[in-house]
Amino acid sequence: MAYFEIEGLSKSFGRSAVIESLSLSAAQGETVVVFGPSGCGKTVLLRLIAGVLRADSGDIRIGGESIAHLGPEHRNVGMAFQNFALYPHMTAFENIASPLRARRTDEAEVRRRVHEVAALLRIEHVLGHMPRELSNGQKQRTSLARSLARRPAVLLLDDPLRNVDAKIRYEMRLELPRVLREYRSTVFYVTQDYKEAMALGNRVGVLYDGTFRQVDTPAGIYGRPESIRIARLFGDPPINLFPVRPERNGDGRAAVRIGDSDLSGPPSLDGLVGRDLLLGVRPEDVEVLTEPADGAIPVELDALTPLNVRSVMLLKAGNATEILASCPEDKRPALGRGRRQVWARLDLGRALFFDRATETLVH
C-alpha cells in the first residue's frame, strides 16, 4: 500500500468534467510534479487534495485512511503559493511560526522548528526582518519555510517559482530537493515548465484531458514519451518528427527516407517495415558536420540561433524537409551568418517511432 493514494477521482463544473477517474499513488517523501498545459485541471487537482474543493466521486487516502470527508484544516496538508502571502506586520520568524502557534505548539519547539527550517533555506540571518525588508528571493524562502515548519504529511506547491526572476528561480530549483528530502512530506508540485518538472520531480505526471496520460521518472518521460503530444511537450527545441514508411533496402535491412536520403535504421526497425510511422529524433541527436561523412546526409544550414547553453540550427534536407539540430554552444562547428552547405548525422539508434494514425509510441 502506498503512503498517499488517489483513486478514481472525478470533478465536474456544470457539464464540463475537469478531472475524470484520476488515480495516483505516491510514496512518503516523494515529489510528484503535476505538469500540463494551462487549463488542464492542475490547480483543481491540488484543491481537491487540499480539501478546498470536494470531489464528485473517488477517494484520497493518507497512510491508508481516507481524508475525502475531512475539511481542509483536518487534512494535514500544507500549501505554498505563487504570491508569497506573508503577513506584512510580522517578522520572518513570526511568519514561519504562525501555523505552529495556531496549533499551540510549545515555545521551545516553535523556536527549534523555525531555526531548523530557516537554516536549511539559508534565511537564518533575516529571521528578525519584516517582509518589506526582505528581497523577493527571501520572501519566497520564508513563505516556503512557513509551509514546511509544521511538517505536513502532504505539501502542495502551486507553481511557486512562476513570478520570481531567473536567479531566484534557478537557486530554488536546485536547493528545493534537498529541503524536501529533509522533510519527508509527499509533495505535489504544479508547473507549466517542462524543465522545472524534470528538475524537481522524482516522478512527473502529465495531466491533460482530465487525467494523467503518463506518469514516469523525468528521464523515462523524456526518453520514452507514450504519445506524440507528450514527446512535443518535453524538449526545447522540440523533437523533430518525420513521416516515414520503413522499406527493406538492398541488404535486407529496414531503411527510412528522410528528405531524399535513405537511412538504415536500427535492427529494431525491421519489425516495422511497411507501417506508416512518425519518426522522432531529438535535436540533440542530430550532429552537424562541416564535411561529408559516413551516414551523414547533405543539408542546407538556413539559420543558426544561439541559445544560452546550446545553439539551435535549422537545416533543410531534400523535399523541403526541415530538421532542427542543437549542440552545446562551445562545441558547435564554426559556421558563418548566412546559408551554407553542411552535413547532418541523425542518431537513429536513439530515435522514437510513433504510429501515424494513433500517434502513440510503437518503439
Binding site: R122, K167, R178, G338
Partner: protein, 388 residues
Amino acid sequence: MASLTLDNVSKIYRPRRRAEVLAVRDLTMHIGDGEIVGLLGSSGCGKTSTLRMIAGFESVTKGEIRIGDKRINDLPPARRGVAMAFEGYALYPPLRISDNIAFGLLRDRRPKAEVARKVAGIAKLLEIDAILDHYPSTLSGGQQQRVSLARALVRDADVHLLDEPMSQLEPQLRAVLRARIKDYLIEHRMTTVFVTHDQTEAIALADRIAVMEGGELQQFASPEDLKERPANLFVASFIGEPPMNLFPAEVGPDHRIHVINDANEAAFSIDLAGAGDAVTQVLHPGRKVHIGIRPHRIRVGPAGANDVAVGNGVDAVVRGTLLSNQWLGDQSHLGIEVGGCFMIAVSDRGVALGTDEPVDVGLPFGALHVFDRDSERALLHGMRPAEA
C-alpha cells in the same frame, strides 16, 4: 534597406502637473545596412520609447535619428521608410488575414501577382497559410502575432521595426520560427530593430544586442561579447541562463580573493599567485569586487579524486557539497554549496555524482570575471583587463 543611426538621442516625457520622466538618455547607436539588432531590457528601461522614436510615434526630445544620411526626426511615420509590427498586433478586424498581410503592399501599389506571391510565401514561412481566409477575431493570440509579423516582414522598407515580435508564439513553434525569421531577414538583407524583454529571443535572433536599463545603454555588442565580456555587473547578471554565479569578494593582503556569503561571512578564497602581474596590479589588497563565473565553465568532480585539480584547465579548486543534480534531457544542472555560497554548474551531459556528497569545484581563471564593487564596471575578463 539602409543603415540607421541614433545620435545622442534622448526622450523626456513631460506630463502635466507631474515630474518629468527621462525615458531615454543620450543614446548613440549605429546600425549597419542589413544588420539585426535587438533592444533588450526589462519594462521601463527605455527600449520601447526608442523603437517608437525611430518609427515616428514619439517625438525626439534631443538628438538626431538618421536613416542612411537622411535626418528623419521631423518626418511623419508613413514617410520614414519603416515597416513596423506592433506588440498589440493592430490587425484590421474587417479584413481577411490575406488582406491584412497584403495591406501595406497594395498601398505601395505593387502589382497584384507579386502581392499574391509574397503573401503566400510569408504565410507559409510563419505557418499561417491555412488561415488566410479567416478574420482576425477567430485567431489565437499566437496566430494574430504571426499575422502581424507577416504584414511587417512582407513589406519593402529601409528599416523593419518589430515590437516584442515573438512573445506570444506557441512554445513548440518558437525554435523553428525564430530560425526561419532569422534566415528570412538575412536572405533579404533587412535592417531590423526589434524590442524584447526575453534574452533568449534576443540572443537567438540578433547580430548585436543593445542592453538597456534605466533609460541608458548598458552595452551594445554581439551576443557572444555580452556573455564573454559583459561591461558591468548589470549586464553580467542579466545575460545568461542559468545566470552567472556572482559573489561579493575582497582582495586580501595575501593576494587571495576572499569570497563573502549571504550572511556576510568568509566563504572561500582563490589564490591569485598564478594569475600574473597585470592581475595583481588591478586586484590590489583591500580592493572590493564582485567575482563571477558562468555555470557551464565550472568543473565539478568527486572530492579528492583528482578529477578536478589545478592544471589541466583549472586554476583554483574549492571544496563544496552537491545539493542537487538535475538531468533535463539535453543538459545537467548542478547546485553546489561552497562555504554558504550557492553555485550553479551546467554540463552538457549526465553527471554521475550523488547529492549531499562533497565535491571539488574547479574554477579556470580564463572564465572568471571581476567587477569593481563601487562602480560595478568590469575590471577583468578571464584575468585580462576588461578595457583591452
